[in-house]
Symmetry: C2
Amino acid sequence: MTGLSLNQPLHKARGERPEGVFTIFGDRRRTNTSFVDRVARLANGLKGLGLGPGDRVAMLAMNSDRFVEYVYATLWAGGVINPVNTRWSPLEMAFSLDDSETAILIVDDAFLPLVCQLQEHTQAPLVVIHAGDANPPEGMHGFEALIEANDPAEDAGRNGDDMAALLYTGGTTGRPKGVMLSHANIATCSLSLTAAAEHGGDAPGLHVAPFFHIGGVGVVFQFAFRRAPQVIMPMFDAAETLRLIEQEKVGDIFVVPTMLRWLLDHEDIDKRDLSSLKSIRYGAAPIDTTLLARAMKAVPTAGFMQVYGQTEFAPVVTCLPPKDHHGPGAERRLTSAGRPLPTATVRIADPEGRDVPTGEVGEILVKGAQTMLGYWKRPEETEAALRDGWLHTGDAGRMDEDGYLYVVDRVKDMIITGGENVFSAEVEEALASMPGIAACAVVAARDDEWGERVHAFVVTLNECEASLEDIQKHCRKRIAGYKVPRSVSVVDALPLSPAGKVLKHELRATLAATEVS
Amino acid sequence: MTGLSLNQPLHKARGERPEGVFTIFGDRRRTNTSFVDRVARLANGLKGLGLGPGDRVAMLAMNSDRFVEYVYATLWAGGVINPVNTRWSPLEMAFSLDDSETAILIVDDAFLPLVCQLQEHTQAPLVVIHAGDANPPEGMHGFEALIEANDPAEDAGRNGDDMAALLYTGGTTGRPKGVMLSHANIATCSLSLTAAAEHGGDAPGLHVAPFFHIGGVGVVFQFAFRRAPQVIMPMFDAAETLRLIEQEKVGDIFVVPTMLRWLLDHEDIDKRDLSSLKSIRYGAAPIDTTLLARAMKAVPTAGFMQVYGQTEFAPVVTCLPPKDHHGPGAERRLTSAGRPLPTATVRIADPEGRDVPTGEVGEILVKGAQTMLGYWKRPEETEAALRDGWLHTGDAGRMDEDGYLYVVDRVKDMIITGGENVFSAEVEEALASMPGIAACAVVAARDDEWGERVHAFVVTLNECEASLEDIQKHCRKRIAGYKVPRSVSVVDALPLSPAGKVLKHELRATLAATEVS
């Protein structure tokens, strides 16, 4: 049987609209014919370098049209993409290349200087392809030369449950794990999300998120299924984003809320014609309603949509479609992550896996055809994550009677103090409303008496002070006594991940170190 | 791995919106909780009657909420639905029951009188379930009694490539064949079509097409994936359709163009509030632009969408979305069947399977995850239909440079005269423009000189006459000489299928009989 294939949009593009545009990068525009031809030639090049069915190919690079060609050429050749997180240290990169047994690495000019270090740290030798305009350094193959020297390959025809991507995740939670996603996993998510809500259709889509994330590369596949030309810039830049929206008449964009703020704060926001925008999707966090109101005023043509998910679900679990951003009840809905996709069955369970009553908090479990194949070479962690046939997201949340999901916290960020469960998010919400507090994060501290106690890290505004007593007084009016922080650290800044998430494991480590000393 | 499952919307409905409405039939409304509970109990009932994994269950009935329950109960129990075409003769019905080795038949009050005949004609004994309000006749089980007597079953968990439906097709082309469709086939089509164009969202959807067709039951699955309550009437009735749209605030409806005409011609059209309609889909034929203009005026809130497909592709191959019905080029696009779904790769091939140049006519081939598992117990016909990995639709068509597909004709309706290929549709189009012609159909007649010759059947308007000479004179101005009919039969009416298609095999049979006599 033929299952869903991520390559299908290429066959369609070439056959149905040969003169259509596939990628736009700087001055370079590739027609569907040219794009698929390059992909098929590069695929043959990769096979010539030893790529066999299911073998991994890595790319360490900024976003570019060549990155999209790498993605499809790897799949066309029957391989598995393993894009490298550019924000990792060389040691972390080397770990993921070794762990995934990746033999071929593509690197752009920006990351050429890292290749030597990587080669030192990886255990097996790497075949390196240089994706640039100049001739490749000695000992490396040239991306363009491979395309030139090879005839187009036939599509290897992988589909359905065949692995398509090995994406390393878990940067905020210790040693990265390779999430194995199949053609069907990712294609199902593309179709299901597109089916779930309004979108930009076949108008050009603009990429601002890095392609090494599922939130970046996943959008490549979505745009391809929707016949949307892919507009690419090396990395997010507010002025360039605004310029490209106007120039390419972009219909669809996926941003994190922070980027949206930068766009709105940019001086060009009023100078550029953004009326082509039909859809602005944002993820990772609910949107600040003030920010949303500004954005809706600045781009009245666009529908706003929130998505929530994780790599293990390829990735989208829920979405809050544009129409949920308006009308009666919108204020409440905007604090949710929306409703599960047509292909996501969600339930909220207690630690024993039993359903909790509607509206109560528990772990978010999800089931459906988007569920990852598993963690690469981690049978025990796979078993734990997928036990009883449900993907255990590790997120805590609740669902209301209309099926809207409220993501409360990470389960592992839960603090158990004196036998009571405290979700750090609730404490943080209470803290954030205190005058003089610029940012805060709440974690568990080891406590001889209570097992764990609620500990707050706070960043104060300007010259403000925040004593433990003041904090406790403020919080006690808002949350139960056992949830009120019992200790506090005032810090200059919170450690953040590249996606803007607070790195709580670092805070816990800081705390543990303090306790020891 | 978990593949797509048609049962997923039931798990979601029960878990996410227990108080939502699943079916509306007359005065009866079933909540999601009640619907899934009934389905799970009926599933246990079916298992108690001997249903094993992959076994077929037939239903011979008008549309009703119980029909939808039959569909899902069969799938929930791990079985395969085999709905019976109500328009067949008892002999044809018995053939399909025997051919499919169906042991369980559900029948409603309307078809109770046929049961005895069916039992006479089928080779194996049938277990019969009576789906009605009264007590079942002796020797039959009661649909409601089974639900009452059984505990809810667990979902058998079939998914992906597991067979879900065995749909008999080919009424117009001889002995019916059972098309085997999997959970993934049908679920992919539901998602892909929903992704491809605007639709009614989660507003109620109204069924007017019979559930024994993929065009009926397929829409059940689409609505379910979209969370749309399903509004059902026993069979199409214009007044009732208009009444239900108003009463239930229907957002989406699928009709054949003939039904649309009946709706527009009905006296209630101006009395009913149809403003809830967001989407009117029509299939089987391109829409008459005059009819479309009337419809768009009558229901300005609705987007119109054409779909083209066949059961073997589960079923939708292309769609012409609402936006293609307006603006520059609309007139031309409206003569097309639209563009292939995201999950349909289409190519146009010559009899040797080679691509024809863009714009030229050939057989429409299609590929993708919607492709049927095959024909039930017909390995040779399956092999022929799926050769080289492409589904051979048997339809002739051409594709333009923007990827729009124009369905020209059935390949087997092509006439080969003196070595030249003539597509009957082209001749019919020329004929239809002749004053005095009400309807026409063109078929091949055996011809000693030319192998085949073009023969026209015409129905004249009122008292008009249509001589062969007049017809030839009219056509010669419009089409090539070898395409002009060489003989003609003036008839009172053309034989039509229930879907309104001309039954050309009957015309050919008539012609053959005439030649012999």
